[in-house]
């Protein structure tokens, strides 16, 4: 649901770069997108470059606070928290990427079929959408992930199968409206087939929804991956996942080791925000109402 609210929300992001004079809005927006993409790319690159040795157990370096050597400190096994966080984040990005790609494809296929394949199909699909929307996300997610035996596969399938609903609704509504548009009807009367009009007239109009929906699903997928892992239904504890890190850190918070939760949590927030910014700015670029601001 919140990807829709994100779409309607007025964005204040692009004002961020207003302090650089001489840039027009479109340049500022592109700059925002570029810097967010840079952050994400940096995380993935870093996770590839950082040595696995650093997250091995080093009992001589355990429970250290943040320092120049260990930016985010170390945990009770002497593992470098910075490395764990970066690797965890990049794992999250991978999982988010696959999960939201799958969801968006599901949404596109179901949304298109609901709107074009007749009343019965429409009724069935809307019913399924209502069913999934009526259930709390997390419950369905846990259920699916748990049934599939957890692990990366369970998380990806779980996230993918719970996040397609609102985008499906958006696409279905859009297609319904386009289908009755005069230019589509005229095209039909010029002898073009149903499939031809769907492909040439309707699909191009869905591209923006599709991309924005994809990018805005990302933060959700990442957050939900982290939450079910945190709850213990997701990735296995051996993986350097953010959810795992946070749930372990809980146990040590009371002993004053604040850095265990603080830095990984903050990084997660930054990554999620980066995706949010990309999505909203993309929408601004595509939205004709703001096209010339």
């Amino acid at each position: 649901m919140s990807e829709i609210s994100a779409v309607t929300r007025d964005s204040r992001n692009s004002k961020f770069f207003k302090f650089i004079p001489g840039l027009n809005r479109r340049q500022r927006t592109l700059l925002m997108i570029a810097s967010s993409v840079l952050v994400l790319a940096a995380v993935i690159m870093a996770s590839l470059l950082l040595d696995n040795e650093k997250i091995a157990t080093h009992f001589d370096e355990k429970n250290l606070g943040p320092s120049l050597e260990h930016f985010f400190g170390t945990d009770w096994l002497g593992r470098d928290m910075f490395t764990r966080t970066v690797k965890g984040l990049s794992l999250s990005i991978y999982i988010g990427l696959i999960a939201s790609a799958v969801s968006v494809v599901i949404a596109l296929v179901l949304g298109m079929s609901a709107a074009t394949m007749g009343k019965t199909v429409d009724r069935v699909i809307t019913w399924i959408v209502d069913l999934f929307l009526g259930m709390p996300h997390l419950v369905a997610l846990i259920l699916i992930a748990f049934t599939l035996g957890g692990g990366a596969k369970g998380v990806i399938i779980g996230v993918a199968f719970t996040h397609w609903t609102s985008l499906t609704r958006v696409i279905r509504a859009e297609v319904l409206q386009l289908r009755s548009a005069e230019f589509v009807q005229i095209s039909r009367h010029m002898g073009k087939s149903r499939w031809w009009t769907a492909f040439h007239h309707i699909l191009p109009h869905l591209v923006p929804q599709f991309f924005v929906g994809f990018v805005l699903l990302f933060p959700h997928a990442i957050l939900h991956e982290a939450s079910i892992t945190f709850l213990g239904f997701g990735l296995s504890p051996h993986k350097p996942a953010i959810g795992v890190i946070l749930s372990e850190a809980m146990k040590y918070l009371s002993t004053g080791m604040w850095w265990l939760a603080f830095f990984p949590g903050l990084s997660l927030l930054i990554i999620v925000r980066a995706f949010d910014i990309i999505g909203e700015n993309l929408r601004l670029l595509i939205d004709p109402h703001h096209a010339h601001d």
Binding site: N24, R26, Q27, L30, A291, H292, D293
Partner: protein
């Protein structure tokens, strides 16, 4: 009441990629409306007539740049003043009854725009004036007939006691009787001392009610003429475009003119904008843009007008 001097409006638009360019859509436009007068602004789509209305109301999009002056009752219309006057002293009668709030009862909508004083009292009197019965007060827009919804639209526009009324295409494709009625309302308002600006593409509508007609072409006025000059085969008219417009009416010659109105997507050329389509064009018309000048109680922007 309203005086617009040398108004120019341009838009900053993106071209492919990141480059921006400046599009001049209205150039050196001057009009004036007095109390008790209906000025019809006539022009084809894309001539910039709606933008003029938006400029006066101060509701142009953010990427617009405005130069020139607009004086309302002798005072400069700044954005702050526009905001204060909008909906009170200056009001807009929109195109379609879809501008009524579909979820609000008519009476309430009218009271909402009543401004200061006793809203209920004002609403009752405006309802009487536009023969909207008591029942309509508690009805929603969809329950009204087309004609009644139009009257409600006019009522909610003028209930605040506006002095300058801008009607933007108030009668597109309507039943002739409703057109007559709506135009009749405009006439009444003008006779009560309001200034009315009627924006339309249909010269027939304009002629039936206006005192003066301003003809738009490519973002500027080519002629401002008293309505009485539109007669016969247009001998009394000053600009060749106005004459062509008059002669193109189905009840007159139904005579088309080759070519098209230059648009703003390209840069506008030097000289008179109507020159490529004009039968009387001369070398002078090609090179220099004619200034607006006064001829026989009207204004015209043409080198050859007499």
């Amino acid at each position: 009441m309203l005086k617009v001097n040398n108004l120019s409006i341009s838009f900053i638009q993106y071209q492919a990629g990141l480059k921006q360019r400046n599009l001049q859509v209205i150039s050196n436009l001057s009009i004036k409306i007095d109390a008790g007068e209906i000025l019809a602004v006539v022009g084809s789509s894309g001539s910039g007539k709606s933008l003029l209305a938006h400029a006066i109301l101060g509701i142009l999009p953010k990427n617009a740049m405005v130069s020139g002056s607009m004086l309302y009752k002798g005072a400069e219309l700044t954005p702050e003043i526009q905001k204060k006057l909008r909906g009170a002293d200056i009001t807009l009668i929109p195109q379609s009854v879809n501008f009524l709030d579909p979820l609000m009862k008519i009476g309430e909508q009218v009271r909402c725009s009543a401004g200061s004083g006793n809203p209920r009292e004002k609403q009752k009197s405006i309802f009487r004036r536009y023969s909207l019965d008591e029942k309509a007060e508690n009805q929603y827009p969809f329950q009204l007939s087309g004609g009644m919804a139009r009257r409600a639209l006019v009522a909610s526009a003028v209930v605040g006691g506006a002095r300058l009324i801008i009607a933007d295409e108030p009668t597109p494709g309507l039943h002739p009787q409703i057109v007559r009625e709506t135009l009749g309302h405009l006439r009444e308002l003008a006779d009560d001392g309001c200034a009315v600006m009627l924006i339309t593409h249909d010269i027939g509508t304009a002629l039936s009610v206006a005192d003066n007609i301003a003809v738009f072409y490519s973002g500027t006025t080519v002629e401002i003429a008293p309505t009485a000059d539109f007669k016969g085969s247009g001998e009394a008219l000053r600009h060749p475009y106005t004459r062509a417009l008059w002669n193109a009416l189905p009840q007159n010659e139904f005579q088309p003119v080759e070519g098209f109105q230059p648009s703003h997507s390209g840069h506008l050329k030097e000289g008179c904008l109507f020159e490529p389509r004009c039968s009387q064009s001369s070398q002078e018309c090609k090179c220099s843009t004619p200034e607006i000048r006064e001829i026989r109680k009207g204004k015209v922007r043409c080198h050859n007008a007499t």
